[in-house]
Amino acid sequence: METFFPQFLQQLINGLSLGAIYALIAIGYTMVYGIIGMINFAHGEIYMIGAYVGLVTLTAIGTAAGYPPWLLVVAALAIAIMVTSTYGWAVERCAYRSLRGSPRLVPLISAIGMSIFFQNYVVILHSSRDLSVPELITGRLFSMDMGGFEVSMSNSRALILIVTVVLMVAVTLFIRHARMGRACRACSQDIRMAGLLGIDVNKVISFTFILGALLAAIGGVLIGLSISKINPFIGFLAGIKAFTAAVLGGIGSVPGAMLGGALLGLVETFASAFLPTEYKDMVSFGLLIVILLIRPSGLLGRPEVEKV
C-alpha cells in the first residue's frame, strides 16, 4: 500500500486545481445571484467567449514571432478581459435590465436564450470544431518522487490555482472595503432600499456583471491554455459545474464560491478515482440535486426566510 499516500496526494492536487477552475467561474454566478437574485445562465458562455478571444489574440500575434510565452499569456489575458467584460456588460444591458421587475421566470428564460445565442454565435463565427490552443505554459511546477510514485503538478494547473486564490482574496477584500463593494453588499441585502438611499443600482449591477465576466475571461484563457482545446460548447458543462460549486458553497457568498469550487473539484476527482470515471458527471449532478433539496442556502449562504 506504499503508493496509496502519494497517489492520494496527487489526486488531492488534481482535485484542488479542478476546483480552482470551477471557483473562478462560480464567482460570476454567486455575485450576480447575490445582488439581483438571478441565475445568469449565460455566464458559462461568457467564460467560453473569454477563451475564444484569448485564442484569437494568440493567433493574431502568432506564437512563432519570438515573444516570450509569458508576454503572450499576459497579452491574451488583457484583451480577453477587455472584450469579455464588454460582453458581460452588454448581456446585462440588453437581456436583463428591462426585465428587472418582471416575474422570476422571465429573466431566467431570457438568460437561457442568451446562452443558446452565444453558443451558436461562436459556432457561426469560428465553426463548431475543436480548436487547439498553443501550449505556452509547459513544464511542471514540482515533481516529487514518493516511493516510486511521482507526484507532480503542471505549471498551467499551478498558475490557475494561484491566480484563483489571489483573485478570490482580492474580490473578498474589495467587497468588504471598497465603496463599490459596500454598494454591492447593500444591493444584495435589499436592492430597492439601496436604490432609495441614492446608490445607482444600474451601475452596481453592471459592475457585478463586468467583474463576473472579467473573472470568467481569466478562467477562459488560463483553462484554454491548460486543456489546449476549446469549442463553442465548453461553456455549458463548465457553467453547470460552476453553478453547482456556487450553490454548494452558498449562493451569494464569495468565499462560499471558492469553498464550493474546491469541494466539488475534490468530490469529482475522488469519484473518478474510486468509481468508474464515466460516473463523474452523475456524481456532480447528484450532489447538486441533494444540496438544493437539503440545504438550498448552501454551506456559507444565509438561509432565506419566505416573507409572507
Binding site: 484583451i79 428591462s98 428564460i109 465553426s127 453547470i240 447538486l288 438544493l292 433539496l293
Partner: protein
C-alpha cells in the same frame, strides 16, 4: 436644443459605437479557421464596421424619433367575445388538407411529423411551465423515458406501438412523480436547475447502462405503428402478416407510410389538445393557474400546493412520454444523443414563444420553429442562433407570447 443635450447625445453615440467595436472587431472581424497548416485567422472587418456605423447613427437619430411602443392593441388580443374553439377547428382542417396540396412532398410530411411531435411535447410542457409556473429544464428526460419504454417493450416483449403507448406515458408520469415529490417545493430557479440536473442524469444513465439500453448504440429496428391492425411498412416483419397496402390492394409507395405516420402524430396532438383544454377549464386547471399566480394565497385557501404541482408535473411529463413513444416508432431507432439538454431548451422556447399558458400560441410557435428551417435550407445554420435571440426578444418585448390565451368569460346566473 441646449448645447449640453446635443453633446450628450453625441457622447452617447460614440460610447455605443466604441462598445459595438469592442464587441465585434475581435470576434466577428477575426475568425479562426482550421487549415491544413493549423490555426489561421481570417480578418474581414466589413461587418464589424457596418455594425459600428449602424449603432452610431441609431444612437444619433434615436432621441429624435419616438419609436411607437410596438404593442398589439389590447382589444385585438383580449377580444371580449367568447368564441368557441375556432382555432382548434381551423388547425384540424388545415392539418388534414395540406398534405394533399402540391406542398405535400415527402420532406414536408416528415418535417410536419416532427413538428407534431414538438407540439405534443410543448403542450405537455405548457401545463408545467405555462399553467402551473414550474420551470422544467429537464423535459427531454421524460421524452427519453417514453421513447425507451416503448423501444424496450417492443424489443423484449414484442409489444406494438398502440399497446405500448399508454405504458410509455405511464412510465414517464411515474418517473416524474418519483422526481417531482422531493423537488417541487423548491423555488423557481432552483427547481429549474434541479430538473436540468435530472435531465442530464437520465441521459448519462441511458448512455452508460449497456445491459438495458445498449448504451450509445441505442435500440434499433423498433416496429412502426400499425393502422387498423395492418402493418404500414413495405414488407411485413412477420412472415405471413399482410401489410395495409396488400389489404387495400395498392402497391407500396414510401409517401403512404409517411402520411400514415403523420396522421397518427396529428391524431395524438388533437387528443392531447382537447384533453388539456378540458383539464384547464376544470378545478384542477384553475388550481394550477392560481398556484402560478400566488402560492401563499393558495395555501391560505386550503389548496395543497404539493398535490397541485404533482398533477401538473406528472400530466405534462405523461404527454412527453407519449411523444417519446411516437418518436421511437417514427425514427425506428433510439439513441441517447437525441435527448440532450438542447431538446429541453427547444421545447421551452416553443412554449415561451407561443405564449405561456396558451395552447394555440404553443401550437403556432411549434409549427413556426420546426418548419422555418425547412423553407430556408441555408437558414438551418442560423436556426439555433435565431432561437436564442427570439427567446430573449420575446421576454423583453412580449412576455405574454405570440398568441396569448384570452381569459374565459363566464355568464353569471342571476
Amino acid at each position: 436644443m441646449r448645447e449640453t443635450t446635443k453633446t450628450k447625445i453625441l457622447k452617447d453615440a460614440f460610447i455605443a459605437a466604441a462598445v459595438t467595436a469592442v464587441l465585434t472587431f475581435p470576434m466577428v472581424g477575426m475568425r479562426l479557421n482550421v487549415e491544413s497548416t493549423g490555426l489561421v485567422l481570417h480578418k474581414n472587418f466589413l461587418w464589424p464596421t457596418v455594425a459600428v456605423l449602424v449603432v452610431f447613427l441609431a444612437r444619433l437619430v434615436l432621441p429624435f424619433v419616438l419609436i411607437p411602443k410596438v404593442s398589439v392593441p389590447a382589444a385585438w388580443t383580449q377580444k371580449a367575445v367568447d368564441y368557441k374553439k375556432w382555432w382548434l377547428g381551423a388547425f384540424v382542417v388545415l392539418a388534414l388538407v395540406w398534405p394533399f396540396t402540391p406542398l405535400g412532398s415527402g420532406a414536408m410530411v416528415t418535417a410536419m411529423t416532427m413538428a407534431m411531435i414538438y407540439i405534443l411535447l410543448a403542450l405537455g410542457l405548457n401545463i408545467v411551465v405555462g399553467y402551473a409556473g414550474l420551470l422544467d429544464l429537464g423535459h427531454a428526460a421524460f421524452y427519453a423515458i417514453g421513447a425507451y419504454t416503448y423501444a424496450l417493450l417492443n424489443l423484449h416483449f414484442g409489444l406494438g406501438f398502440w399497446e405500448a403507448l399508454p405504458l410509455a406515458g405511464l412510465s414517464a408520469g411515474l418517473f416524474s412523480i418519483l422526481l417531482g415529490f422531493p423537488i417541487l417545493r423548491l423555488r423557481g430557479d432552483y427547481l429549474a436547475i434541479v430538473t436540468l440536473g435530472f435531465g442530464e442524469i437520465v441521459r448519462i444513465t441511458l448512455n452508460n447502462w449497456d445491459s438495458l439500453t445498449h448504451g450509445p448504440d441505442g435500440i434499433n429496428n423498433i416496429s412502426k405503428p400499425t393502422l387498423l391492425g395492418y402493418e404500414i411498412t413495405r414488407r411485413s416483419r412477420v412472415e405471413d402478416g399482410t401489410t395495409l397496402w396488400q389489404a387495400l390492394g395498392i402497391d407500396y409507395n414510401h409517401i403512404y407510410q409517411q402520411l400514415v405516420l403523420y396522421f397518427i402524430a396529428f391524431l395524438l396532438v388533437v387528443v392531447a389538445a382537447f384533453l388539456i383544454s378540458r383539464l384547464v377549464k376544470m378545478p384542477v386547471g384553475r388550481a394550477w393557474e392560481a398556484l402560478r399566480e400566488d402560492e401563499i394565497a393558495c395555501r391560505s385557501l386550503a389548496l395543497n400546493p404539493t398535490i397541485i404541482k404533482l398533477t401538473a408535473f406528472s400530466l405534462g411529463c405523461m404527454f412527453a412520454g407519449f411523444a417519446g413513444a411516437f418518436y421511437a416508432a417514427f425514427l425506428g431507432s433510439v439513441t441517447p444523443a437525441s435527448f440532450e439538454f438542447i431538446e429541453s431548451a427547444i421545447i421551452l422556447s416553443i412554449v415561451v414563444l407561443g405564449g405561456m399558458g396558451s395552447q394555440r400560441g404553443v401550437i403556432l410557435a411549434a409549427l413556426a420553429l420546426t418548419l422555418l428551417p425547412e423553407f430556408a435550407r441555408g437558414f438551418a445554420e442560423y436556426r439555433m442562433l435565431i432561437f436564442g435571440a427570439v427567446m430573449v426578444l420575446m421576454m423583453v418585448w412580449r412576455p405574454q407570447g405570440l398568441w396569448p390565451a384570452s381569459r374565459r368569460r363566464v355568464e353569471l346566473p342571476s
